[in-house]
Amino acid sequence: MKELVISKIREGTVIDHIPAGRAILVLKILGINEKTKETVSMALNVTSKKMGKKDIVKVEGLFIKEEELNKIALIAPNATINLIKDYEIEKKFKVKLPEVVRGILRCPNRMCISNSREPISSIFYVRAEGDEVFAKCHYCGRKIKDLSQYLL
């Protein structure tokens, strides 16, 4: 019999197929931390047929908006989302890479205006090439890959 790593949630959002080691980054992208009220459980390094190892995040009592969830695709392009109601999956979908992200990524160019003291949010244009995700800074044009390094 299959053993559950973390218990089922009654209501909320389950994020599955996160590359191993990136669960914390997923929470960071969603802005969930010790100051927010949601109960979060995480399973790290779970054995996966498809991925070898993966992470899973469960956020109780919160239906995260699809637009927010799609930001996860920056670091977990194959993540799947299950919206749970009364212990049942109400909706299941794969994250979709957003075309533009604001205030999520940091430009590595220290001479970019987005890193100055101006009232400014970083803006990046995102695209996938094969399995790799790239982003281009709206302000200075710098291109970045391996986006997990550049999360704000």
């Binding site: 205006i113 987005s114 003291r117 101006e118 009232p119 302000y139 200075c140 044009g141």
Partner: protein
């Protein structure tokens, strides 16, 4: 509202339209014809970095077209910036004028300024980023002096890493079919993202191998202010120099351009040779900027 922030903002047809318009303004730039189409308009020159040619040619262009100019010098701009953000400075100044020309040391500053301005913003150089008005005058010079913009062999020489002039020019050259050679010390090679933009139409070369085949030799200064490490600057400065001997190997009709100022990368003895067109290039900045100003303000 029209801004000019990056050469990418313009299509090939729009670029050609500006060059054609500049051609019409050439006699006005020379003072041979009066044309006061910008009478009653005010241009604010907002320079956070020093500039001579760009600022003065914008000022001349505006005045030739009957407009007024308010200059905010590097010193005034930086003292303003001490207590105020660029966003606020631009919000205030855009209430005083009909267009802003901005030069700033941070990349993307002009785009950010445009987002906070109620009038058109023209980028006159943002750090190592873009310098689109220089590019338009470079294209204008090539078209005037070579009588075409396509089918040329163009060598870009010098600081290809930090030169915003080069970065802008490369974006424009990809719209026209030319062979491009990149000549630079390895440490100042063109950044990967610009190389990608050229899509295989450019190759790295040594000056001595290609000098006889080029139509345009575009030389840039190694910019001391872009180096964090002075030792690194000293190592590469003077690593290339265009002398009369080199120029004498160039083919008939070939030209030498330089965005100026030069330090010692072009020997002064080259100035009197027929290939030297960099001072003419500097003059062309006026009709081209007249075309740009009329484009954004009318």
């Amino acid at each position: 509202m029209k801004h000019l922030i990056s050469i990418d903002d313009l299509s090939k047809d729009e670029i050609i339209g500006i060059l054609d318009k500049a051609e019409d303004f050439e006699d006005v730039a020379l003072g041979l014809r009066s044309c006061k189409i910008l009478e009653g308009k005010i241009l604010a020159n907002l320079f956070f970095e020093p500039s001579t040619r760009t600022r003065i040619s914008f000022e001349t262009a505006m005045k030739r077209l009957g407009g007024e100019v308010v200059n905010v010098s590097a010193q005034e701009a930086s003292s303003m910036a001490k207590g105020e953000t660029l966003a606020d400075t631009v919000r205030v100044i855009s209430n005083y004028c009909d267009a802003i020309v901005i030069r700033h040391f941070l990349e993307g500053a002009a785009r950010f300024a445009a987002e906070n301005s109620s009038v058109p913003v023209i980028n006159a150089g943002d750090g190592a980023g873009q310098h689109p008005t220089q590019t338009l005058l470079d294209l204008y010079t090539i078209r005037k002096e070579c009588r075409r913009l396509e089918g040329l062999t163009i060598a870009l020489v010098g600081d290809l890493k930090y030169s915003r002039t080069i970065h802008s020019l490369i974006k424009a050259l990809k719209l026209f079919k030319n062979k491009i050679y990149l000549v630079s010390p390895e440490i100042l090679a063109l950044p990967e993202e610009f190389l990608e933009e050229l899509d295989g139409n450019a190759e790295k070369a040594k000056l001595e191998d290609i000098i006889e085949s080029v139509d345009v030799l575009y030389v840039t200064r190694i910019q001391k202010e872009r180096f964090l490490d002075e030792e690194e600057y000293r190592r590469v400065a003077g690593s290339y120099r265009i002398t009369p001997e080199i120029v004498s190997r160039m083919k008939d009709g070939a030209i030498i351009l330089h965005p100026l100022p030069r330090v010692d990368e072009i020997d002064v003895r080259v100035d009197s040779m027929r290939q030297a067109r960099y001072f003419k290039q500097a003059f062309y900045g006026v009709p081209v900027r007249m075309a740009i100003l009329s484009e954004v303000m009318l």
